[in-house]
């Protein structure tokens, strides 16, 4: 019997889990996939938006600005990469300059302060961004725009939640939900009971909700495709947005914390089957659109393209509310700026939980999570570390200089890595220019050894995604 069941382990489920772990509650996260954060959290722009563009008065506007202001503290507590790079929305002609001024006003209405936004003239823009297109005339500078590392936002929050008592059950797909006195959530791993259920199932939120109560919304997967540029490309210093349209924020150039640049996304409603497929049209759309704001884009430096789908709802705003069934809370339709809003949403959801369960603060809540990162240490500290554990001297990922010690740590942490992509999401081998060509065999070996299973059973990302098919020479496992 749990107090709270959270369905879904993306940034939303993760931040809610951590927030709830501050209180004396018995909480469990149910995730249908082989690992956490494999949905929209896996594939997005990684931007902590300032809150300049949501329509004033919406939940999006409210939680975006609130979430932005919470990010730095959360990142410090949980050791999540955080790049305070700023952003700018650029305008190329007279109409756009007019729209830029309206956007400036909208930002103020949403609660941004005077000293957090500023209109830049062409010269100022060029000084800050040498690769900006010559056609750009003005820009709205957003000082509070930042960049995070979404995989680690989810993983760090879940790890910290687990450190503070939250449970996680993977490969646990919700099949049915009933309520008599308590909720009974039937899954592929049995029935879980609780007093409150939080539906943070992302793209599947409407389906999960329908298991209990006919939902008053639908989720329409809205796919975004992206390019990743190699980390040696110095294309932009800040997040470069075109002017937003009704389709969203447009194709953005985003500097990443680890030095790459992300170009994208597209915005297309797709069937669930196509939610993570890249397309020929998408690839050429990004090329065309990005060239309107940035010049000299080195497309020959692309090291990866990928797609993910936002959980856009038919209600055009975040849906964060208790349903007619008391204790069943929908946190649905969390598309952009959901990543930014997540910490603020988690506070609000906790208040909703408080209406059903009396919340008392834990005395021993530990807000801190720390990870060993050799790239952050000076030589002296590195050598101290290697003396303690020599596996931190053995580099397995040559593109990103990641050690065996870091990989092993990622496996043995709470919510540890169990797959090749799981290791990549936590400590990044395979994120560099060789895309795992050299380190993947090493990572498989380490996973097999640490998890004490056969290398042939190691998954790439999901269940049933093994990389090694058969042992040669007729050998059995």
């Amino acid at each position: 019997m749990y107090d709270v069941i959270i369905i879904g382990s993306g940034v939303i489920g993760a931040t809610i889990a951590r927030e709830l772990s501050k209180y004396n509650l018995k909480t469990i996260i149910l995730e249908k996939e082989f690992d956490v954060a494999l949905g929209a959290t896996m594939a997005n722009s990684a931007i902590v938006h300032s809150g300049h563009d949501p329509i004033p008065g919406t939940l999006k506007a409210k939680f975006n600005v609130l979430g932005n202001r919470m990010y730095k503290k959360m990142s410090e507590e949980l050791d999540i990469p955080f790049l305070e790079c700023g952003g700018m929305v650029v305008a190329v002609d007279g109409t756009q300059i007019e729209e830029l001024k309206q956007l400036h006003d909208r930002a103020l209405k949403n609660g941004l302060k005077d000293n957090e936004i500023r209109i830049l003239n062409q010269g100022e823009v060029r000084d800050m961004e040498p690769n900006i297109s010559d056609t750009v005339k003005k820009a709205l500078y957003l000082l509070t725009t930042a960049v995070t590392f979404p995989w680690e936002v989810a993983i760090a929050n879940i790890e910290n939640a687990m450190d503070n008592g939250v449970e996680l059950s993977l490969e646990t797909e919700v099949l049915d939900i009933n309520k008599d006195k308590n909720f009974k959530v039937s899954t592929t791993k049995g029935v879980f009971e609780s007093r409150v259920v939080i539906n943070a199932a992302g793209i599947y939120a409407d389906k999960v909700s329908n298991l209990l109560v006919k939902s008053n919304y639908e989720i329409k997967p809205r796919r975004g495709e992206y390019f990743v540029l190699d980390s040696d490309v110095n294309l932009v210093n800040s997040v470069i947005y075109p002017l937003p349209t009704e389709k969203g924020k447009g194709v953005i150039a985003t500097p990443q914390y680890h030095g790459n640049v992300l170009l994208g996304p597209t915005s297309d409603y797709v069937d669930l089957d196509d939610k993570t497929k890249t397309s020929e049209e998408g690839i050429s759309y990004i090329r065309d659109e990005i060239s309107k704001t940035i010049k000299n884009v080195p497309f020959n430096k692309v090291i990866r393209s990928f797609a993910g789908s936002r959980a856009t709802s038919t209600r055009n705003d975040f849906i964060i509310e208790e349903t007619d069934v008391k204790g069943f809370i929908n946190v649905a339709g969390i598309d952009s700026p959901g990543l930014t809003a997540a910490p603020a949403i988690s506070k609000y959801v906790t208040d909703l939980v408080g209406k059903r369960i009396k919340l008392t603060k834990k005395n021993d809540f530990n807000p801190v999570r720390r990870v060993t990162r050799i790239n952050k240490l000076d030589t002296e500290d590195l050598n101290e570390l290697v003396k303690r554990d020599d596996r931190f001297g053995h580099i397995v990922c040559r593109c990103e200089n990641i050690t065996e010690g870091e990989v092993i740590e990622s496996i043995h942490r709470k919510c540890g890595a169990r797959s090749v992509v799981g290791v990549k999401m936590r400590v990044r081998p395979g994120s560099g220019r060789c895309q795992g060509g050299f380190c993947q065999p090493e990572v498989i070996k380490i996973l097999a050894k640490e998890l004490k299973i056969d290398p042939m059973d190691i998954n790439y990302n999901k269940s049933g995604s093994q990389i090694l098919n058969e042992s040669t020479k007729g050998e059995a496992k």
Binding site: T472, K473, G474, E475
Partner: protein, 115 residues
Amino acid sequence: MKKELICIACPIGCHLEIYPDEDYRVEGNQCKRGLYYGKKELTNPTRIITSTVAIEGGIYRRIPVVTKGEVPKDLIFDAMKIINKVRVISPIKRGDVIVKNILDTGVDVVASRSM
């Protein structure tokens, strides 16, 4: 009548023209290996086989092997059946015979590295 072949005797890949009616006269070769290959390929094609065998006690699970000469092309898969069954134990030295006289071809399969 002329036959055209690409010589595989070495990575240069000469474009050979072979005249079977003229005792397999070969043109286009840059070295005499081409003369030999041209005739052989049209009369009795042979290949070197490279593969691995399972090894115990080595730094890896497999040790590479190579036939010490060419074997008839149509025996390749039969030879593989034999190679696949072999199990060896480290240490092995480069050149150690792994399968003697495979399929009575007179050709040995040897280790192509030490392990």
